[in-house]
Amino acid sequence: MRDDVLTGGFSDAPVQSARAFRAALDALARPGRIVTLSGGAAPAPLSTAAATLLLTLCDGETPLYLAPGHDAPQVRDWVAFHIGAPIVGPGEAMFALGRWAALGRLDHYPVGTPDYPDRSATLIVELDRLAADGARLTGPGIATEARLSLPETAAFEVNRTRFPLGLDFFFTAGTALAALPRTTRVEAG
């Protein structure tokens, strides 16, 4: 087993995961806000922010889907050693990780049920860059409007129309993290 599979976990899990969660909560509660997430390190192609988010939120109770490109043996080994999340297909996933194009059609992921809209997937989308420009965001968590460099807008508009069902997104690039809950209205910038 390669060294980078065994390393990259938190050195002080209670404190590092607490700080990472607060950053993630802040990002999701204020769509468009870009926060910094670090502390975890996983084999390529995972970004620091994505690795840290997985360490913070996932465990043996959260089925994880690795999209093509991220579904590599060393990534599976790293997840198995540090997190223990079962690797599943998109239909059973509670979390999904990959690049935007690789994650594929969004209707393959669970969006919750009318009785339990919380039983829906959270997608972690790896981007090359994350900046406060591009698509215009409005809705809960945003005082007036925010801007975020989303990979597209149409899919997020469709996702919003399904509220209270729908998917929630985290976007990661390097150590940067932003989020888009299902409530946010997305318009092309």
């Binding site: 995961s17 607490a18 109770e61 809209p117 929630d168």
Partner: protein, 286 residues
């Protein structure tokens, strides 16, 4: 302190609560079920709020705990000491200096900022529970957005009392979708539910977490001809003279004597320090 994991709960429990909190933020007003743990305090003393606070705290936080607005009641002091011991965080009684505020049944008078989190202790999270005791039915009513029963209840208030008599735990509709119980805060506090802060609600015994993100529309249910009124006792505070704060009525003797004081002790103390005076201010010493 080293005898406890940071913030008392084990890491797997915190991850479970954190995942529930994120879904609660994503679906404002919807009650997310979570596997509430037994805490070293009785149900009704804020076990839900304590678990939410434990999942949110970082070592850099400054925690404030209030019970009915007061920092110096048994419940507030014991929760503050609990986190001083198990998380080693700083605590404060100043609303403006706190980053996390756990509250039982009040929202502080001072407006909260976007670097603050307000955690509510919730006894009964389901606003429809006293109208429909079956969980399967209330869950379906939320799914179908079937809230007629709640309006009937408010209408019956009007038919019987001439006005909507509900004065605390006044139901609200969040972002035009879910009807939510704001916990037993006085309806005077309802307008403050639209806030720049993140608001998280924890119900330990009932195993539910819900949330209101910042800048989210929160409307108190009412009728066109009986609009919602955020009422309070028609007095000024007898210690600081404030006319716009929520008041507690205190019986002071056996002859029916009474005084009204701000329920928010930090707000009242701050005003008194600024020189504001009320009817019963102890000025004799000067």
């Amino acid at each position: 302190m080293s005898a406890y994991n940071f913030a008392y709960l084990d890491e797997q429990t915190k991850r479970m609560i954190r995942r529930a909190l994120l879904k609660a933020i994503a679906i404002p007003g919807y009650q997310v079920p979570f596997a509430s743990r037994e805490m070293p305090m009785p149900y009704g003393w804020g076990t839900g709020g304590v678990q939410v606070t434990a999942a949110c705290l970082t070592p850099e936080d400054r925690l404030k705990v209030i019970d009915q607005g007061a920092d110096d009641t048994t419940n507030a002091i014991s929760i503050r000491k609990f986190f001083e011991t198990t998380a080693g965080v700083e605590t404060t009684e100043r609303t403006g200096e706190a980053t996390v505020i756990q509250t039982r049944h009040r929202i502080p008078e001072a407006p909260l900022g976007d670097d603050q989190i307000l955690v509510y202790q919730v006894p009964i999270p389901e606003p429809l529970r006293f109208l429909e005791p079956r969980e399967t039915e209330t869950r379906r009513m939320h799914a179908l957005e079937e809230y007629g029963l709640m309006h009937v209840k408010l209408y019956e208030d009007i038919a019987r009392h001439g006005a909507i008599a509900t004065s605390y735990a006044y139901p609200v509709k969040v972002e035009g979708r879910y009807v939510m119980d704001p916990s037993p805060i006085p309806k005077f506090d309802n307008p403050k539910l639209e806030s720049a802060a993140i608001q998280l609600f924890g119900a330990g015994r009932e195993q539910r977490i819900y949330a209101i993100p910042p800048h989210t529309r929160v409307v108190s249910l009412d009728f066109e001809d009986h609009p919602f009124v955020a009422s309070k006792a028609d007095h000024a505070c007898d210690l600081c003279g404030a006319e716009q704060s929520y008041l507690d009525e205190v019986i002071v003797d056996d002859a029916g004597g009474r005084m009204f004081v701000c329920s928010d002790t930090d707000f009242c103390a701050t005003r008194q320090a600024e020189g504001h005076r009320g009817r019963f201010s102890p000025e004799a010493a000067e």
